[in-house]
Symmetry: C2
């Protein structure tokens, strides 16, 4: 038995997805996914205890059950060189020092469960932001209610007995590593992006009494956490060294899998919303409007700047659901894409702002909203659909331009996920609007593969992430180049959209329309 393998585990919002990779050939050999038993709990706990409005919890025990099934299926009887895992963030939980989640000890207590990334403790974030501090500089002057500090404040304030029993307050990704290895080895990415840790100054002080002692000093990405424990080896049948890397933020795990391991690269994940990561070697102040920056947390020796659009594929799905053109969503998408593809830039005479779910960059304002302008009696449904695509691409370009104005050089644009894979027209428009070549890497299970590469680096299977990307990452990529004529025709339209986006009175008018009732955000993965 010569084969040796890596395993990557991608803990998403609703399930864990695993990939088994042949360490020799670098090729995926198997994959398996298991949903979490209780999914996302927004209405009640497993024992029936009702939850306050706005809560979004998970049961940490579900992660263990799902992970065991995936590891067993992929690893039983195989030599596993390394295991890497990525996780949603910030999804912290209170635990005992040995990793026992408090939810196992207090099953009827909401604050004892994992506060999932989408659970927002906004008023605690508001208080932290109002108090201020230098640690906010790398995050546009504010922390989010979805991040760890606000959730710790919520827990300590609203459930002091739970807080008193909490020995470790830990991201679920770091907790999973603790459970797999028996050792706590936190990741710098979670700490930096979600708990505002800096290598120079540590965690922010005096935010939540007693928080410092419940956190832990983090390790850079690709760091070695330990080896799979005897207990887990017995339960899964995994053989070999089974070195486990520190966990990684799910949205950052994809980077080595798509070859994004160097300065000057931007990676866009075009899902229901869109997330962008800019890689830079040089330290730069966070450009105003971008969302956060940290060093070494997700790739060693690189600054990762974060930005995003609050709705992306969601905007197109909204249109197609609202104005269907076929028996199902897929048929409607096909019909709209086919007709929209026959239009040339400007032919719809529409320009829009893609703020259907508020604006993240640069305004960080959830009360902003979508806008379309240029309607006439000749406007068609497909023209509107194409205008939405164009508005999304204008939004992306504004983010790249903002980064560029702040000194972040973008020489390569890589797009992954969702629409990058399923909607060639969108990618064509994107290339034309950006005036840049777009790389579309071809790789299945990209995120889980990225996690596996973290394992390979930690275990020394490869020398570094660059080698890991080459050996285990995407083997092929398509290059979508802008059409010079179409690209030129988009310039005045993009300028018109920027003019609109820049008008403070338009944003004030949007806010005056009044906030929407609090809806349940999309949980699709």
């Amino acid at each position: 038995m010569d084969e040796r393998y890596l395993i990557g585990l991608d803990f998403g919002t609703l399930s864990v997805r695993g990939v088994l990779i042949d360490a020799g050939s670098g090729v995926a050999a198997d994959h398996h996914a298991v949903p979490y038993r209780h999914g996302v709990m927004t209405g009640s706990l497993p024992d029936g205890t009702p939850l306050p409005t706005g809560f979004a919890l998970q049961d940490a025990g579900d992660y263990l059950v799902a992970a065991e099934e995936v590891l067993t299926r992929l690893g039983r009887g195989r030599v596993i060189l390394a295991i890497g895992l990525d996780f949603t963030a910030s999804s912290p939980l209170p635990a005992k020092a040995d990793g026992t989640p408090l939810s196992a000890l207090m099953p009827g207590e909401p604050h004892a469960y994992v506060k999932l990334w989408k659970h927002s403790a906004q008023r605690y974030a508001d208080a932290i932001n109002a108090a201020g501090g230098a640690f906010l500089d790398d995050f546009g002057g504010r922390v989010s209610g979805e991040w760890l500090l606000a959730k710790a404040a919520e827990l300590a304030t609203e459930a002091p007995a739970v807080w008193a029993a909490t020995e470790r307050f830990i991201e679920a990704g770091d907790w999973m590593v603790l459970r797999l290895t028996g050792r706590e080895a936190r990741n710098l990415g979670f700490a930096a992006y979600k708990a505002q840790y800096s290598a120079e100054t540590g965690y922010p002080r005096n935010i939540v009494p007693g928080l410092a002692s419940r956190l832990g000093r983090p390790l850079p990405a690709g760091g070695l956490a330990g080896r799979l424990s005897e207990d887990w080896r017995r339960r899964t049948g995994i053989l070999g060294p089974a070195t486990v890397a520190v966990a990684i933020i799910d949205s950052h795990a994809v980077l080595p899998a798509v070859g994004a391991v160097e300065d000057g690269t931007m990676v866009g994940a075009l899902g229901t919303s869109a997330a962008y990561i800019f890689l830079a070697e040089r330290r730069l102040a966070l450009p105003a409007g971008l969302e956060g920056v940290a060093h070494g947390g997700s790739l060693p020796d690189l600054w990762l700047f974060e930005a995003g659009q609050a709705a992306f594929g969601d905007v197109l799905a909204w249109f197609v659901r609202t104005f269907p053109r076929g028996p199902d969503l897929s048929a409607s998408f096909a019909a709209y894409n086919a007709e929209a593809a026959t239009l040339s830039p400007g032919e719809n005479h529409l320009v829009g702002l893609d703020w259907w779910n508020g604006n993240r960059v640069p305004h960080a304002d959830s009360h902003l909203s979508g806008l379309l302008m240029g309607f006439g009696l000749d406007t068609t449904a497909a023209g509107i659909y194409r205008a939405l695509m164009e508005a999304l691409c204008y939004g992306t370009r504004r983010i790249i331009d903002l980064a560029s104005a702040g000194g972040i050089d973008t020489r390569r644009v890589i797009m992954t996920s969702g629409l990058a894979e399923t909607n060639p027209l969108l990618v064509e428009i994107m290339a034309d609007v950006l005036g840049r070549e777009i790389e579309l890497p071809t790789i299945a299970h990209a995120t889980a593969t990225g996690a596996a590469i973290h394992g390979a680096v930690a275990a020394g299977v490869v020398a570094d992430f660059k080698a890991g990307a080459t050996h285990f990452g995407a083997r092929s990529r398509r290059h979508i180049r802008p059409d010079p004529d179409r690209s030129a025709r988009y310039q005045p339209l993009f300028s018109a959209s920027c003019e609109l986006a820049g008008l403070a009175p338009v944003r004030a008018a949007m806010r005056s329309i009044g906030p929407r009732a609090c809806g349940d955000p999309d949980l699709g993965e």
Copy 2:
């Protein structure tokens, strides 16, 4: 045979519609409509001669044929006290002094035909406006390419031989009166609104060489033109005095029929586009942004201010055609109206600008376009439909507010036509947005009835328009009152729409999207 009658003739864009009214009871006894044989000629003349792009002509002979059929059907063997007629404007034609249209003498010459209101000689208007003159003050500083002066300039410049043969350059309404009576008796309304005539200074001078001698001194509204000629009596079988009034602009004819004959009244005609008339006794400078004002042309002793929205019912029809919800337009309208009626003000979180066909008041800019703002992932199709209705009403309110700011007092709001009759939800929203009671007069054939009242005044059947309105106009009217709560909730939304409408950079961005290809305007009546 005691019955005595009036006849009103409404010459629209595609047909003439006649109504027969019992002079004693004041009630309509019959009606009849006949389309014009050649309709609107945009591609070629009746003999096949192709037309230049942008031409929109009519054959004056068609009016005679249609009028004879209607008058015969309604009047044969009856005692007709008076005939009044209204006509589209500006729709001038070149004729001999006896009324022979030049098109009868030069059937292959485009410039010899009626230049219909929608035919625009814009570059000649631009030249007139560039030269300037005090006569522009009552028309916002500019004449339209659709008005008489520009069309005369086009004719004289592009077809000098036709111009040389032209003895009278005359509105088709005035020409129809000339043909019916054998006497030229022009109406002050056509002269004032479409040829910038003023009682003090006459027609503007030195615009088109030789124009002055081809026009004629006009008479106020309700003036006596003459009696139906022997020739027409023989052809139609009409008996009695058959006094013919001077013609009236079609959009003004409705006023006495709906009881709008006094200071402080606004009448809105909510058709495919919307036209508003404000009546005032006192002389006021034209408020900036309104479209025109003249005295006595359409009702004696009153100043009539004009304004309008370039698209109205067209906007809703566009939406329903673009996103159908039923087997036909009517079913779709019903479905959207039913769902939109369940929404309360602000529930759709949308605000818009109704500029789907450009903006007339106050910007007079056909390159402006429609805008909707406030989209979210929860926006519904019916929410958008209602937002369009609301945007239309915001546009109406902006016009009333503009008039008010200019000193025009509006104490009564009367709405007629199209959506005022067919769309109760729109009228409810209108009352709430305006914060004013809206009167909806109940009268069939309102425009033709108004024309008949002009005949009755000219013939002395009634003492004045007020008496004519009482005896022959609407007998009943519904009063739609605003709901105080809904009305209050519309105020911030209306303010947001005004904020948007007032932003010059938004308008500049709209213009930068680029003008649309020249389409064929809607010819619906």
